[in-house]
Amino acid sequence: MNPLNLLFLFADNFAFIVLSAVGLAVIFGMMGVINLGHGEFIMIGAYGTTLSANAGVPLPLAMVIGVLVTAVMGFVLERTIIRRLYDRLLDSMVATWAIGLILTQGVRIALGNSIPQISTPLGTIAYGEFSYSTYRVVLSVVALAVLAGLYVLFTRTEFGIRARATIQDPDTARALGVDTDRMYTSTFVIGSALAGLTGALYAPTLTVVPGMGSSFLVEAFVAVVIGGPSVLLGTTLSGGLLGVIDALFTNLYGTFFGQIAMLLTAIVVIRLLSNGLTGLVEDVRNRMEGE
């Protein structure tokens, strides 16, 4: 196998894993809530994009519409349902699952099992005897940009500091004048918008169907599980590790074994590191500082 091909395969997997997981990870890391309707949020983003593009809107604008639709949906759901369940974590999982069921079947009833698809833009890059989709390279760049953007948002802005204060100690944050309710709503909307972005970005490369959300779930959940409590670092590390594992096994044995390998990685990582990869990083850091 050509090393350049392997690199492209890795970049592609890395982008897919990071983009699948990032919306879920932001909501989980900041609020402790696992959004089991995450796949369906992605599906809504993809539908928003595809329907707009079919209506004649240029693709980049259609993607913005997909993101906005998902963000608005996230806002409404947080205000009406999710906020009642912040102190009941397992119940919030079941509730978001129920939302997912309603969304999948609702879209199926409203729009049928298939809609006209949009084609992958930007053509291909050719090198030697191989060629590769330019759009997929763009996706890897976008994945890195999203991670960088979130890093800046959560560490360098007023909002990020308030949000992190809310996670660390809601009572003190409130006493110091942070509107924690608003922080929770904003975080959920950001997570929803990121899910919508994933749907929008992958809409041209996948078949957009009501059940498409489940094809993101394995990657998203495994990445969050092994990433551990720290959102950005966790998502980046697990995207990297899983990207390598998936690229190797998919390349050697096929897609399904890539999935199995990721599942086994998750089980082994969890068995060995209860705080995931970020826990490991922190342990190492503490040990080095101790010496």
Binding site: I34, L85, D91, V94, W97, A98, L217, I260, I267, S274
Partner: protein, 362 residues
């Protein structure tokens, strides 16, 4: 009151603070309902009984989740994994060695396979100190991966013995359960399958009532309420969770074997994401801390889904999702416990003296 006292004494092992229905009135009603259910095939015929048997075997699957989630506090989306594994192993064993004896033996072997699978998964999760939401995610991921795996087994290389796994289409023509002694053999189908399932459900229900109201049940509930405190009191929380998860796997596996022999068919859709969520719906709506609630909700919801899909309506899953959402938001303890409290209140008001402690809800 000789008969009454004997009756009360018979009911006592199944009574306690962890279940609803601890009164003589409840048990009399219970016996009446069981007798009515036993008579159902006689009144409505074998075909109706066979359709109803599906709800009863699903109720066993529902109970398997009720003890894990409702009583021990572990939300698992993976009960269908063990359900499906047992169904597939029953198909592979009984069809590879097609004699009545092996069909009979395939039942316990398949349940054992499902139990071992649940113990292995449970070991990695609970002894790896995996926390609440992570357990839910992992079980869900296992279910999705099993679905992907089974759906891609269409090729001829995926053949176990003489039986092809069949990919997306699954395995057809699985033999019905057969019990044989010497030359005499009984094939369970129609009414006899219904009776077998009903009695199995009855045994499982009463057995679990005795379990949750016994010493082990108390440690289960203690684990649910506060893991650290239970551990401080000297209990091995990991072992409790593993044992309950294994028992849940065994029950789900048993239901899975019944399912495979009920329709003589098993397919990857048993691992599918929709089916994986259905037990959660039954238990959440019926009342996660109530065994009776799980059984009643399973039968009612499945009957309702069947009625709706028979009319060709696509709204079943939307309604099921909405019911689940409303239950979580407004009736978090479940419909059946809520009804029970309402009934007890009505009775307390009609009787001037407050009732004896046997009427206390859980």
């Amino acid at each position: 009151m000789g008969i009454g006292d004997t009756f009360d004494r018979l009911c006592r092992p199944f009574e306690g603070p962890n279940t609803i229905g601890n009164t003589r009135r409840f048990w009399i009603g219970f016996v009446v309902v069981v007798l009515a259910l036993l008579g159902y095939p006689i009144g409505f015929g074998g075909y109706a009984a066979s359709s109803a048997a599906l709800y009863l075997l699903y109720a066993i699957l529902g109970l398997s989740l009720s003890i894990i989630w409702g009583y021990t506090g572990i939300l698992s989306f993976g009960q269908v994994v063990f359900f499906g594994i047992a169904g597939y192993s029953f198909a592979l064993i009984s069809m590879n060695l097609s004699s009545t004896l092996t069909t009979m033996l395939a039942l316990p072997i398949s349940v054992a396979v499902a139990t071992i699978a649940s113990l292995v998964l449970g070991y990695f999760m609970f002894y790896g100190e995996v926390r609440d939401v992570y357990v839910t995610i992992l079980t869900l991921v296992v279910s999705i991966v099993m679905n992907t795996f089974m759906a891609q087994t269409a090729g001829s290389e995926w053949t176990v013995g003489s039986v092809a796994l069949g990919g997306f289409n699954g395995i057809p023509a699985i033999p019905s359960l057969t019990f044989s002694v010497g030359d005499a053999s009984v094939v369970l189908d129609g009414s006899s399958f219904y009776w077998f399932t009903l009695i199995a459900l009855l045994v499982v229900y009463l057995g679990l009532r005795a379990l949750v109201n016994g010493r082990f049940g108390y440690t289960m509930v203690a684990t649910r309420e506060d893991e650290d405190r239970t551990e401080m009191l000297g209990y091995d929380v990991r072992r409790i969770k593993l044992l309950v998860f294994g028992l849940g796997g065994a029950l789900a596996g048993f239901a899975g074997v019944l399912y495979a022999t009920w329709g003589n068919y098993v397919s990857p859709s048993v691992f599918g994401i929709t089916f994986a969520s259905i037990p959660v719906v039954w238990v959440a709506v019926g009342g996660r801390r109530s065994l009776l609630g799980a059984v009643v909700a399973t039968v009612v919801i499945e009957w309702f889904r069947q009625q709706l899909s028979a009319t060709g309506s696509q709204y079943a899953m939307v309604i099921v999702g909405a019911v689940l959402l409303l239950a979580i938001l407004f009736v978090p303890e479940g419909v059946i416990p809520r009804l029970n409290v309402a009934l007890l209140n009505v009775r307390d008001r009609s009787e001037t003296t407050p009732d004896s402690p046997d009427g206390t809800p859980e």
